[in-house]
Symmetry: C2
Subunit: 182 residues, 2 copies
DNA sequence: TTGAACATGTAAACGGTTACATGATTTA
DNA sequence: TAAATCATGTAACCGTTTACATGTTCAA
């Protein structure tokens, strides 16, 4: 099975709600989907251009205040493609964790080194949790309880919260185990 | 920061223990690291060749029984590179979850569709858990308790177990929430 | 004798990232 | 007036995957 570009669906999905500029899409992703879906800076604009060429979105320049922005709107063809993607099962993601790989080879390092790496990750996970709180109190709080999106956005947030909690527990177990060794 | 090829370190690490053939490396990865590190079929052999050209590994053909295999051994230069990589902090992995993305856009689908996808994932996670049991009872059981690897391998396995447990809980919560809606 | 497992590779395409590039506007 | 944010892009590279390719040996 051929691997397909999923950036396009992330973008189409963002435009399915309302027209947005490339900048807005990037910004909104950072505030909402970043913990499970990120796009690099350079991926959004070229994809919008590509989608426009395929007539899946239409572009129109707008002057917002004194600034000019290119606002993109999804077309019926774009909506159709998005819906078709949404209907098929999600592809199994293949995750690669460099931390786990290093841990797997931990016998070749010193226990202190391994502990250090685990604690580094612990901090990263705590940072991520702070971000979840921010999404909860800022992005999500702005959505009305009755809004159809609310429930689903809360679910993706819950995913982040639950999984990071489990990861913290795991890290603490590992560190405890390693400290007993020394 | 430039992205660097990590396949090489996975391979060097596998060879740090003992000489292995490309086939053995692939097989062992499937039995041990697959839940956090996979290599596609086509990545191992070319990388071994590349590492050999860089004198990080040496190749020698062996006849194991009647079969010929190319056994690779790590060189001091290869060990040095491996150790250097092991010492630096693990890079933050950027995960992308297509399931979460579809869930985020769940309002554009029917609740039943979303539930179906969640339950599909649930089954995948259960399958993964079965695999962990297999790693535990087969791969890990063959390693002596006193072996320096044992502890670290068990930790990577625990990671898989803990995180999948959390994911199952999350899925069940989501499904419950969605069923209350309908 | 047929299928599973053993065993090793190549070529091409693709997705995604990094680095590069530019300039306006608002806020402190 | 300096920094942060707004705003939009391009070019090149590289890692990875997919698909292709081939042949052996052992067990049922």
């Amino acid at each position: 099975m051929k691997k397909i570009n999923k950036t396009r669906y992330a973008i189409l999905g963002m435009l399915a709600d309302r027209p947005r500029s490339g900048y807005e899409i990037r910004k909104f992703m950072l505030e909402s989907t970043a913990h499970f879906w990120q796009e690099s800076d350079a991926s959004v604009y070229p994809m919008l251009k590509k989608l426009a060429a395929e007539k899946k979105v239409t572009a129109c320049s707008e002057h917002f205040g004194k600034r000019k922005r290119k606002i993109f709107e999804i077309t019926p063809a774009g909506k159709k493609e998005f819906s078709a993607w949404l209907a098929i099962p999600a592809e199994r993601e293949n995750r690669r964790s460099e931390l786990l790989l290093k841990l797997f080879f931990g016998a070749h390092a010193t226990p202190d080194d391994v502990i250090k790496k685990l604690l580094q990750r612990r901090q990263q996970v705590l940072d991520a949790q702070k971000k979840f709180e921010k999404i909860d109190s800022e992005t999500l709080a702005e959505v009305a309880d009755t809004h159809p999106h609310k429930m689903f956005w809360a679910m993706t947030l819950q995913y982040g919260i639950k999984l990071t909690e489990a990861e913290i527990e795991w890290i603490d177990d590992c560190v405890k185990g390693l400290k007993n060794e020394t």
